[in-house]
């Protein structure tokens, strides 16, 4: 771990809980506490707490906020009313992706919060500032801690913790992809009903001073047994949903349509950075497509393994792979030539020089309804 690694406001809490700490994107983060499989299952069956304070928060406000976000992002920001949020992308001029993001509307036409990946935060802020159309863009990452509360019992836990006090928020009554500003004790919070696990729940932005108190209150709640969940399970949970992770499914060179993220791109609504190149990549059919697959023979696919035809010809590459704790079987995500991307298509994963048969399946791997 390098000396320059940053600590989140919850670092001491992780140490207290006996977490194994690793360096992730320049942050000292808990990779697991009691064990990845237990943590994964607890999130799927009960409720898990994730320290996501390392994520970046970039504020975009002022009279030119919407104009700037329309240019900088692929989704249509004008459709967001106060308190609504959507997934979006930051495209670059070459038709690739600077990052994938969430945009939250705090005040329509005036105040937006953009949540970005920790590993890309500085790059994103620089990019947004350089290509700004007159908005006030501020990096607020040092102000906010962030805790994700995810699982079938997350809403029950949230109501127990947030539904009393001077400005109560009943998370169970919020729809999906909403955001509300309120208080926890005397700390400013923003509760967003978003997440990265496929489970019900929310992500709570809270000032860094208040983050440990909220973490402790969530863990101590007697009605629902919440557990701390490390980055290891966060990754296996998102892989089961086939959610993209920057550096795996998407990067500076990814055409977002190939990544099956077309639903977050609104070319008919507006102009945006890199639009022509992105659309051109789609013209005449995509060359490759992101698919989910399962193994028909023994072996676990991993990022970087090549996808091949039986004769050894390369037709793709694995972007993420793991042994799914929920399904208790290997699952993988890969880019493959479009002709191999339909459900039921067979191909081979080159696992340490051995061709192991696999099959394209429906995703998400785990159906959360």
């Amino acid at each position: 771990m390098s000396n320059t690694s940053q600590k989140t406001p919850l670092f001491d809490e992780h140490v207290k809980l006996g977490a194994r700490i690793v360096d992730f994107a320049g942050w000292m983060m808990p990779v697991q506490y009691e064990g990845l499989k237990e943590e994964h299952a607890h999130t799927r069956n009960e409720v898990g707490l994730f320290d996501v304070s390392h994520m970046g928060e970039i504020r975009v406000n002022g009279p030119k906020a919407v104009e700037s976000l329309q240019w900088l992002t692929t989704n249509d920001v004008t459709t967001l009313e106060k308190g609504q949020a959507h997934y979006s992308l930051l495209p670059n001029a070459q038709g690739g992706l600077v990052d994938d993001i969430f945009v939250y509307c705090i005040e329509k036409n005036a105040d937006y919060l953009v949540c970005v990946n920790a590993s890309n935060k500085d790059k994103d802020f620089k990019w947004m500032t350089e290509n700004n159309k007159g908005a006030d863009i501020t990096d607020e990452s040092n102000i906010w801690g962030q805790i994700a509360i995810q699982g079938p019992k997350a809403l029950e836990l949230c109501d127990a913790v947030f539904a009393d006090g001077p400005s109560p928020i009943k998370v169970s009554e919020m729809g999906r992809n909403q955001i509300k500003v309120g208080k926890f004790k005397n700390h400013t919070i923003m509760i967003a009903t978003t997440g990265y696990t496929g489970e019900k729940g929310c992500e709570v932005f809270i000032d860094t001073e208040g983050t440990p108190a909220l973490w402790q209150a969530l863990l101590a709640n007697p009605s629902v047994k919440a557990k701390a969940i490390g980055l290891g399970a966060r990754d296996s949970l998102r892989t089961e949903m086939k959610f993209s992770l920057y550096g795996h499914e998407i990067d500076d060179t990814t055409n977002p349509y190939e990544a099956t993220l077309g639903w977050a791109i609104k070319p008919n609504a507006k102009d945006f950075l890199g639009k022509d190149v992105i659309l051109k990549g789609k013209e005449g059919g995509l060359k490759r497509k992101l698919v989910g697959f399962k193994m028909l023979e023994r072996g676990i696919p991993r990022q970087g393994y090549e996808i091949k035809k039986e004769n050894g010809e390369k037709i793709g590459v694995v972007t993420s792979g793991t042994h799914s704790p929920t399904l208790d079987e290997p699952i993988g995500i890969a880019y493959v030539e479009t002709s191999f991307s339909t459900e039921g298509s067979n191909f081979f994963v080159d696992i340490r020089g051995k061709l192991v048969k696999a099959c394209v399946v429906k995703t998400p791997f785990v159906n959360k309804g």
């Binding site: 990779v31 697991q32 064990g35 990845l36 499989k37 994964h40 290891g232 990754d235 296996s236 023994r298 072996g299 676990i300 991993r302 793991t322 042994h323 704790p325 290997p330 340490r352």
Partner: protein, 129 residues
């Protein structure tokens, strides 16, 4: 955490143990190694008759999160494989020093044992981690 490190075994820097019975060497991973790995979900082992070389990979163990290479503590020929691990690798976590053994190797030369550690030295190595 105190790991059980049997005194009669030899140890590699890659956290494999070797139990020597004349020229037959039983190989496994140490308790320290299984703790670092987390729950093992997949094992890939060589076939009987395969030659292995000291400090070279002869298989892999995988947890949900990661792939780890297995390194042969001695050179020789694989004469027996713990195939039960292929279907159920749980003994690698539950009992890595005994039931979770990986392979038996007919050793080429006892001299290679000098490159391995005994338990006090191995305990020291893991205590530093």
């Amino acid at each position: 955490m105190a790991f059980i490190v049997p005194e009669e075994y030899y140890y590699s820097k890659d956290h494999e143990w070797a139990q020597v019975d004349e020229n037959i060497v039983t190989v496994g991973i140490t308790e320290f190694a299984q703790d670092q790995l987390g729950e093992v979900v997949y094992v890939d082992l060589p076939e009987e008759g395969q030659k292995v070389t000291q400090n070279q990979t002869f298989g892999v163990v995988e947890s949900v999160k990661a792939v780890s290479d297995l390194y042969a503590p001695v050179s020789g020929t694989v004469i027996e494989v713990n195939t039960s691990l292929m279907d159920d690798p749980s003994s690698l976590n539950d009992d890595p020093n005994n039931q979770g053994w990986l392979v038996r190797i007919e050793m080429d030369s006892e001299k290679e044992l000098a490159n391995l550690m005994r338990s006090p030295e191995y305990k020291k190595l893991t205590a530093e981690k």
